[in-house]
Amino acid sequence: MPDEEPGTPVPPGGEDPGVVTLTIPCAPEYVGTARLTILGVASRMGFSYDQVEDIRLAVGEACTNAIDRVARGGNGSGPGSITIRSHVETGRLTIEVEDHTGNGAAADGDAQARPVEEIDPQELGALLMEILVDEVAVEPLPEGGTLVRLTKYTAEG
């Protein structure tokens, strides 16, 4: 995944991902805005209605995770922000949800392995992401915070 800055012009002749970057305060009332932005990005890409909704919910869960982490272990320097970077490519949408909240990753990837009766709401969010998109990668950021990378293919992979 190219890590280019949104303002950087696409190199001529190279791959041409349209990059849409949204930054919101890490607070519950802004998650709806992120979902609307993602609706705008995904609905122009040839995804089915259900696939668009899957992406919207997965991104919502990634944002909710970030907010929950802050609520449970805030670092005292304000709520921080969440950056949602969408890379639009032919046949593929990759969305990176990055929180700059000074708290390390909490979500683990293997929620799906446990019986549903034992998982809590936050693990439910991780489970949903795993089911709703084709690839999920979660990694702590060196400067604090967490990066969640969600990938969905237009031809259901």
Binding site: V31, G32, R56, L57, G60, I67, V116, P121, Q122, L132
Partner: protein, 118 residues
């Protein structure tokens, strides 16, 4: 284009059964409203609660967690939480998470009321 990005929770009673009509989106922002409404009903002595999801167009893990909590709490009181009219989309979410095994779901309010209980 709908501008509603909110949740409306309207309580009412039908033949002694407490009903919560939901309208809008249940997410990390709005879910506390739903949690409070359920808590209020339980503290008011309700044992059988019916939640109408017909006009809910978004439900995330926060909302699911609260519904699960409601199911548990009402079961502890010898009662039940019933869900009415989820969209195809939300039914799908129940299925992929396996929560359809935990939730008591009815297509219409009439069906849910006919299932008995106070």
């Amino acid at each position: 284009m709908e501008t509603a990005m909110n949740l409306k929770v309207s309580p009412r009673a039908v033949d002694g059964t407490q009903v919560l009509d939901l309208e809008g989106e249940v997410d990390v922002y709005t879910a506390p409203l739903l949690r409070q409404a359920i808590v209020d009903l339980v503290e008011g002595g309700a044992t059988h609660v019916l939640i109408n999801l017909e006009r809910v167009d978004y439900l995330d893990s926060t909302g699911l967690g609260i519904l699960i909590g409601g199911v548990k709490r009402l079961k502890e009181q010898g009662g039940a939480l019933r869900l009415v009219g989820p969209s195809a989309r939300i039914t799908r979410i129940f299925e992929i998470t396996g929560l359809n095994k935990i939730f008591d779901v009815y297509a219409t309010e009439r069906d849910a009321l006919a299932a008995g209980g106070r």
